[in-house]
């Protein structure tokens, strides 16, 4: 029974199962990605309409699976939870091997285990000591071919080993060795930070997931539009009030938007300023438990601060200016012409259904006015930047829009995320782990220097082709070094 349980436990945290869970998460995320494009987010509000269009079964399925918002559905959360649990179990069950076990390579038990490896070579000391001429020496060849014993004494063996160790150290390997009656067995390793890096990356992903969950359940974000000069309570914090002191759209000479800047004051219950400052895009402000972000802005088409209109009375040849505020009328000098502001459009465009604003940015401000004269009224548009298009009125007056100040509502996003600190820790851990994983080139070379021969094998490597080259070069270096220089 225990064996069965152990087997099931191992199966749950096996590499194969972990890969299967990643595949499931990939499939679920892809399905969610596609669903968000196919199912409109307003499905719930217009469910009846979609039921008629798609049929009852499809609409019901969309509702049950929450395909209008799949990433907050229970099925996707279930997959995420499964991913989290498997990742946690993988980390818990493998940390000893990855973080500590692989830190130092262990010398081989015997030369036999090295001979089975893909990258290995065995050279007799006689061959090595004979140098470059060795392969051509018939005596050496005979010894190699028929395994004629050519034992060397312990002192020479130690000398050869120190020579090999020096070569490996020059290549960045650290060496662990064990000496006994059968000779010296050693393990040389390099790039050992990779395994702890792997562990750190997985821990980082776990921490990011935890931070995401904390933020998802404990965090909030709300959008607020506040008129310049007015105040509004900070969402979810009844003690604080936000006041917009100023709002500015910074533009280039060609009217390209550079930045939006809101000057804000946060007031406590007594009306005292707790904190004040400017909020720009990418530069949020901290207030209490939340942060305030400059998100966007808008203009109410029916509002503007004030407008200044230049007039020219045709019959009297008189000119001047008068101010107009929304909804009010003004008499042009001492004439009988009355002008009323009807509608303001910040970025005037003419569409099939009449004028509309292309954006909230005052790129082409236009004011619709109603002119009353001699019992007749007529309406027309006055353009700030294109006065040629102003309506010529039947009344004996020409009007030009001289200035208009829109009323801005700054769009501020207020949010709090208790998981943000956790997320930053996770990003840092995962990044460090990734760097260690991918910058380190782990290789392990093991060897057994016996009385008769040297057996060396590459037991771990990352890049097969480059390790093959390095291993071949190492073989040649050992031959050259022992043969020519006589390390011993």
């Amino acid at each position: 029974m225990n064996e069965k349980r152990k087997g099931a436990g191992e199966g749950f945290i096996s590499y194969r199962f972990a890969v299967a869970v990643i595949a499931v998460l990939f499939g679920a995320s892809t399905a969610g990605w596609i669903a968000t494009e196919l199912v409109p987010p307003d499905f719930l509000e217009r469910e009846e309409l979609y039921r008629l269009a798609w049929g009852t079964t499809t609409a019901k399925l969309v509702g049950i699976l929450r395909l209008y918002d799949p990433f907050h559905s229970s099925w996707y959360r279930l997959v995420l939870a499964l991913f989290f649990v498997v990742l946690l179990l993988c980390v818990v069950t493998r940390w000893r091997r990855l973080a500590i076990g692989s830190w130092r390579a262990v010398p081989p038990e015997s030369a036999d285990e090295l001979r089975k490896k893909g990258f290995s070579f065995e050279l007799s000391w006689r061959l090595l000591e004979s140098g470059a001429g060795g392969p051509k020496d018939p005596l050496v060849r005979y010894a190699e071919q028929f395994g004629r014993a050519e034992h060397i004494e312990a002192e020479r063996l130690r000398g050869h080993f120190s020579c090999i160790a020096a070569l490996l150290k020059k290549r960045g390997f650290s060496i662990v060795s064990r000496a006994d009656a059968s000779g010296i067995r050693f393990a040389a390793s390099s790039g050992r930070w990779r395994s702890p890096g792997t562990m750190l990356f997985h821990i980082g992903v776990l921490v990011i997931t935890i931070g995401g969950v904390i933020g998802s359940f404990g965090g909030w974000r709300e959008m607020m539009f506040v008129r310049v000069g007015s105040s509004a309570p900070l969402p979810r914090d009844s003690a604080l009030t936000l006041r917009v002191d100023d709002f500015e759209i910074v533009t280039t000479e060609s009217l390209e938007i550079k930045d939006f800047i809101s000057t804000l004051s946060i007031l406590d219950a007594r009306g005292d300023v707790v904190v004040s400052g400017a909020v720009e895009v990418n530069r949020p402000m901290k207030a209490g438990r939340c942060r305030i972000y400059q998100s966007e802005y808008t203009i109410d088409e029916n509002e503007f601060e004030r407008s200044r209109i230049r007039y020219s009375l045709r019959d009297a040849s008189r000119r001047g200016t008068f101010d107009l505020v929304p909804g009010s009328s003004a008499r042009v000098a001492d004439s009988t012409v009355d002008v009323t502001a009807v509608r303001f459009i910040p970025d005037f465009r003419m569409g099939p259904d009449g004028p509309f604003s292309a954006s909230a940015f005052p790129r082409n401000p236009a004011l619709e006015v109603e002119v009353a004269y001699a019992g007749e009224t007529e309406r027309g548009w006055l353009f700030l930047y294109h006065s040629d298009f102003n309506k010529p009125f039947a009344a004996p007056v020409d009007l030009v829009l001289d200035r208009i100040q829109p009323v801005y509502y700054t769009g501020l996003e207020v949010s709090a995320n208790p998981g943000s600190g956790v997320l930053f820790v996770g990003f840092a851990a995962a990044t460090l782990g990734l760097l260690a994983m991918y910058l380190c080139n782990p290789r392990v070379v093991k060897g057994a220097a016996g009385a008769r021969a040297l057996v060396v094998a590459g037991t771990e490597y990352r890049w097969k082709a480059s390790f093959e080259r390095e291993f071949a070069a190492l073989r040649e270096e050992i031959r050259t070094e022992i043969g020519h220089r006589g390390c011993s």
Partner: protein, 270 residues
């Protein structure tokens, strides 16, 4: 500097890449060393022109060429060309140009269909150093994925067992190129596209993650390459499967790259 200089340089580089592609193809067929060297020189000239074109655009717009999809495609193709030159210098395999040069031509053709207006002013949300980290690393990562897919295509078209007669690199070599490209692209993508993107989103929009279509596309792509690397490490996806999967990865990357043109969302920059 004339505002059209960048366009002219980039236009010339496109034709040079096309010429390099033709030369690499002929070289692959006839295997004349001189032809291979000529193709390499033409490719280097194209790369030089592209570098000059990008530098000119940088000077004209006063910001690195990363703010529009056109500029992103140019930078990504530049990263691909640079990767190819590094690989070629390291492994001396001119024939890889047969795949890299048409991929570059294709990316540049796609780029030419995108709006090319050079704006001096970055939109407010893009005025952050995170923008440069995020977009540069993502472009380099996707460049590495393009190289992996290119090697994957050669792997598939290379005939097995032709040995000496086969002019294309060996399957082992190609597998290592795929593997290395993925292992370069993956950390760059994870750190650049996901982590740096999330941190920047927190500063710009007040939320690390908004399930925006582009963000979801990046997550899907990351999960795909996570799966691919895990399978590769456990020895399940090797050889032909690895080659096919690297090509599939590029297809997902392309959908994720152009997705914002169709899906909209917060990354709807063109």
């Amino acid at each position: 500097m004339a505002s059209g200089l960048d366009m002219k340089l980039l236009w010339f580089s496109f034709w040079m890449y096309l010429a390099a592609f033709v030369l690499f193809t002929v070289y692959a067929a006839v295997r004349r060393r001189g032809l291979g060297l000529t193709a390499t020189v033409v490719f280097l000239a194209a790369f030089g022109l592209q570098t000059a074109g990008l530098a000119a655009r940088w000077i004209i717009t006063t910001h690195p060429p990363l703010s529009t999809m056109y500029e992103y495609a140019l930078t990504m193709s530049w990263a691909v060309a640079l990767s190819f030159l590094i690989v070629m210098a390291r492994f001396r395999r001119i024939v890889l140009g047969v795949i890299v040069s048409p991929v570059l031509v294709l990316v540049l053709v796609i780029a030419s269909l995108l709006p090319k207006e050079a704006s001096k002013q970055l939109m407010p949300a893009l005025q952050s150093y995170w923008f440069y980290i995020h977009v540069t690393l993502a472009a380099c990562a996707e460049g590495a994925f393009v190289v992996a897919a290119g090697a994957g295509i050669i792997y598939l078209i290379r005939r097995k067992g032709d040995g000496e007669k086969e002019f294309l690199p060996s399957h082992d070599f190609l597998e290592e190129i795929i593997s290395r490209s993925l292992r370069i692209g993956y950390p760059l993508f994870t750190i650049g596209a996901l982590f740096a993107g999330a941190i920047w989103a927190q500063y710009a929009w007040g939320s690390f993650w908004s399930w925006d279509p582009k963000e979801t596309g990046s997550l899907v792509l990351w999960l795909y390459y996570t799966l691919l690397l895990h399978q590769n490490m456990r020895g399940a996806w090797r050889g032909k499967t690895l080659a096919v999967m690297s090509i599939v990865g590029l297809a997902i990357a392309i959908v994720s790259f152009v997705g914002n043109l169709f899906f909209g969302g917060m990354h709807a920059y063109v």
